[in-house]
Symmetry: C2
Subunit: 171 residues, 2 copies
């Protein structure tokens, strides 16, 4: 039986930071880079973060992470794949995330999507996520996807990957 | 540590059959009773079932099951409670179900809500559901909530309860 993978959306499949950078430039004219964000509190750079996340269409129009489409298709062919995304705190994001998945990952069936508040009750063999708080309570293999929020932190318990190329090699 | 309960919405917290009966009467003038539905294919009685389920507001306006509010509050005080509902096949239902929960069960936090396609990857100690297909793959204690779809079927592996009164006694 294929191992079950729990795959995070934001910061792994979808490039949330790029969308924030684009919106900040459009709203205030401030150019922010990934480097600026590394290890820093995002609120320093996006003072209107909450409004941006609540803005209609924010999650519907997220750019794809490089290699996410091919990589997800590969995982879907080899593993029992579920997309697990913390979405309920922003309830309007659920339908946007569903439509985004349907458009960009048409081979992912609705049965494979989980929109939750907490990921704690979702079980599997492997979790891929950019947030240590989601990986810590997970009992299986924990893979940390590098993003500006975690880049300067050391997590000996997790396997760190820097891009979708690493996923193809590792899994 | 409190045991984790996975609680189903439709047919346990929310009276889906009552809503279908009300809508069928409004649409066609046909009066259908719970007794009619017992053990029968619902499509015989609701030929436009799919349209009814897709109708805007269907899941926002579901009547409550008798005792569901008090019973859920009791479970929430004693257990690690999650509301787990198969909603992704009808993606517009997610926001309606969220709003319905917020209105009728204001003490349930977004962190406790899971909108999924399949319940298989969601783990806990106890599952309460009206659909045997959700209970079968579950590893913990399985509690079948009586509804017309399951009333005539015998499930020796499950504990059957007929109402929220039974939940209060059992748990």
């Amino acid at each position: 039986m294929a191992k079950r993978i729990l795959l995070d959306m934001d910061g792994v499949m979808a490039d949330v930071y790029q969308n924030l950078i684009n919106l900040e430039y459009r709203n205030s004219g401030r150019r922010i880079s990934y480097r600026d964000l590394e290890g820093n509190n995002v609120l320093t750079y996006f003072p209107n973060l909450s409004e941006m996340l609540h803005q209609k269409g924010f999650f519907r129009n997220l750019p794809l992470m490089a290699g996410a489409q091919e990589g997800t298709e590969y995982l879907n062919s080899k593993y029992d794949l579920y997309i697990v995304t913390a979405a309920v705190k922003l309830p309007d994001s659920m339908i946007e995330k569903y439509e985004w998945l349907q458009e960009n990952f048409p081979y992912i069936r609705p049965q494979q999507m989980i929109f939750c508040g907490s990921k704690i009750p979702v079980c599997g063999d492997i979790m891929i996520d950019d947030h240590p708080k989601n990986l810590y309570p997970f009992c299986g293999e924990r893979i940390l996807f590098t993003q500006p929020n975690n880049i300067h932190m050391d997590f000996p318990d997790f396997v760190r990957i820097n891009s979708w190329k690493d996923i193809d090699t590792l899994l």
